[in-house]
Amino acid sequence: MRPTLILIGLLMPLTAASLLIGAAGIGMTGLFSDPHMALIMTVSRLPRTLAVILTGAALAVAGVVMQQMVRNRFVEPGTTGTAESAALGLLAVTLIAPEAPIWIKMVVASLAAMAGTALFLQLIRRLPPREFLLVPVVGLILSGVLGAVVTFIGWQTDLLQLISIWLMTGEFSGVIAGRYELLWLAAGAAALAWFAADQFSILSLGRETTTGLGLNPDAVMRLGLVVVSVVTALVIVTVGMIPFVGLVVPNIVARRMGDNLRRTLPVTAAGGATLVLACDILGRLVRFPYEVPVGTILGVVGSAIFLWLLYREPSGG
Amino acid sequence: MICVEGVSHSIGKTEILHDISVEIPKGKVTALVGPNGAGKSTLLSLIGRLMPLQSGRISVDGADTVQTPSRDLARLMAILSQTNTLGSRLRVRELVAFGRWPHHQGRPTAEDVQQVNDALVALDLIALGDRFLEALSGGQRQRAFIAMALAQGADWLLLDEPLAALDMAFARRIMAQLVTLRAAGRSVVVVVHDINHAAVWADHIVAMKAGRIAAEGPPQAVCTSKVLGDIYGMDLRVTEIDGKPLVLHHL
């Protein structure tokens, strides 16, 4: 229980800080007397803080589910073609039906993400089993291929700007009330993973063991596919991809607490929320009053943490 | 003669070798034996300058392994290490031909081709010469690597567990081959897993335990139930067949 306490101890002050920090100054005292401040709080700060927490938690959970499905610690939705497929779907809707309501965009992006992730799962099934290093490599290359398609279309249609936000530099500066609520759905999908936590834990023991324990491995796989794809697609539709959350947080948690998801998933979610929130606040402060996207900050911070993880132990992993 | 003086070696905080001093005689087949983790491979790698020397001094026929240019050492000794994974797709003959590299640096002569052929014959690899290494069994691949070390034509041959993955027939053949090399004036240092290969074929045995030299001498002196029992921490019976000690460690 100790990690949970530490995380909550971190998350509370960070949340408070996130509510107070921004281009427009907000004071504790003015909040209740000044209607303008109250408006900023309810329309901008609170939604933004919630969006950050939901995104961080959902992405971390999606990461750990992906890792259990593939039985490899070095993958996350951003490195297995999931994010690129979602972007491809989103791009298609944007081009074909620009006026479509956001839920249509979301559904199409989710379906595309599922298709891309399913393709990845099919590909790695054909790899020799002991080549565990090839799994992340195949994922990265599939991401690259799909990314090339997205870039090509984006180039031809002058949508590159949008695409780079979707795929790499997610940011929360545009989040206001009414434009982030889809993220609650992402959190819902992550919660679904918690209810099926034991199934994912068993799945990571291998197909034979899963079947032996009376579970249908393909059904668990499909459930995982839905969780990962929906979370990724929703995050991309609302704020853009944020790298490394799904990779770094589950790795740290697994190192400290093992892989019993029933026990670790809440910690993973809280860890993801804390990390993204800390990075978002950092991004707001570094070049005040301008903002550095949280995706960029996490690219630097997350990769540093990951390298530290990779080299802290002699070998293996 | 290979002279090892005051060599210690650590990896991280773990000390693998503790102040080792030993002399390995020239013109003989010397076997390095000992339990897992005794430091045999580390010692052999240090002699073969595959790892940087941390302390002490090692010389091969008077040539200091730190001071002497690597290319000169390559003509003095050939070392075959335990892990041999290749990055390139090579045919057997191509791999063995690389053994001649120290002599021709990329421009093989007729003499080099002849030496390669001799090595292939010695390990019965002629028929496999044009096969890719990845298409061979573990034992066949092991033979190809031994052939390569052989083709190097150095005075000293250092082999780290060359018998791993070999069947009985080839294991005996390799050991016999090493004895033939000695007759031709070469010296061999070989790490062996099965103590009986050392007992039967070696002229000299160096036994290690926990990073120290535990015993050394001719097989008759080292292969006794007392000495080996201490080193391996188990009860052993040693018998004698045709004048050679034979350790009955399976019983």
């Binding site: 790298p243 995706g295 | 290490s81 990055g87």
Partner: protein
């Protein structure tokens, strides 16, 4: 096998001629003046990436890696951004192209040696960790470039953004003499070292046992890779999977492990693909500046196919 080399050389000459002279029209002098530097740039990039990838794969003893996958080009972009950060936008613009390029290559080489020299030097067995390190470095450098750019000037981010997509049409003619000299020199050294690279490919224990100055050769090879990647990235921007496509095809076409054969084959394949691709794009499809994306796509697909066919071992 030599017949294949000859045939490819012939094909390359024809392709170059077609690119230069097809549909010249009355203002031929002007058009030719535009096309020639572009062609030269493509040939340089094709050859540079081909050799850099081959040498790098030999260093890592692994055919699924390229310097780009290991974050080399991201490192180059970071260098460039850092230079802007260090000198300020005015100072940066004031530098002559060759001075700028020179500084970048030197820094890049030093950084590459620091990062990868220690990883590769001791014949690292743990390839998985090596690959991941490289990939992560790539993301880190890219993010850090974006971060630096925003710190310098929140609006200058677009400049870095533009630099992270490759384009074959934007080859800067003024860079050609410097990059050309560096590139041809380095490739010459690589060809001259071909027999030693063959030995290097056997791994550290065998290479040392055969008397090769292993560690020194690793450093030299890393420098060559750094220089060639700098050249290619400076000319057209980052391209990740093109090298894989080239090295994969070169291996398929030669069926040999000898660098004396592999390197020329890779160079020919690389140049030929770029020239033919660009000709098709410019003259027939009427598309601009997106060849790199298509090559990325083709390279990635080809690589996945190789991987699944089990040809990577």
């Amino acid at each position: 096998m030599d017949r294949r080399l000859t045939a490819l050389t012939g094909a390359l000459v024809v392709a170059c001629a077609a690119y230069l002279f097809w549909g010249l029209g009355p203002r031929w002098q002007f058009i030719l003046g535009l096309r020639a530097p572009k062609l030269a740039g493509m040939l340089l990039v094709g050859a540079a990436i081909a050799v850099a990838t081959m040498v790098f794969q030999t260093l890592c003893r692994n055919r699924v890696l390229t310097p780009q996958i290991m974050g080399f080009d991201a490192l180059y972009i970071l260098m460039q951004t850092a230079l802007v950060a260090g000198l300020g936008v005015g100072g940066y613009a004031g530098l002559s192209l060759s001075a700028k390029f020179g500084i970048e290559v030197v820094f890049m080489t030093l950084a590459a040696l620091m990062l990868f020299g220690t990883l590769l030097g001791r014949g690292t067995q743990d390839i998985a960790r090596l690959v991941l390190t490289g990939v992560i470095f790539g993301v880190m450098f890219r993010s850090f470039s974006g971060f630096l750019a925003r710190i310098i000037d929140p609006n200058a981010f677009a400049v870095v953004q533009a630099a992270s997509f490759a384009s074959f049409t934007a080859i800067e003619p003024a860079l050609l003499p410097v990059t050309g000299a560096l590139c041809i020199g380095t490739i010459g050294v690589a060809l001259w070292m071909a027999p030693r690279l063959d030995v290097l490919a056997l791994g550290q224990p065998i290479a040392v046992s055969l008397g090769l100055a292993h560690d020194r050769l690793v450093i030299v090879a890393l420098i060559m890779v750094a220089v060639l990647v700098s050249v290619a990235t400076a000319l057209v921007g980052p391209i990740a999977f093109f090298g894989l496509l080239v090295s994969g095809l070169a291996h398929e076409l030669t069926g040999s492990a000898r660098h004396a054969r592999l390197l020329p084959m890779a160079i020919l394949v690389g140049c030929l693909m770029l020239v033919i691709g660009q000709t098709l794009f410019e003259r027939f499809l009427g598309l601009q500046s997106t060849l790199s994306v298509v090559i990325e796509f083709a390279g990635g697909v080809f690589f996945l196919w190789l991987l699944l066919k089990g040809r990577m071992r």
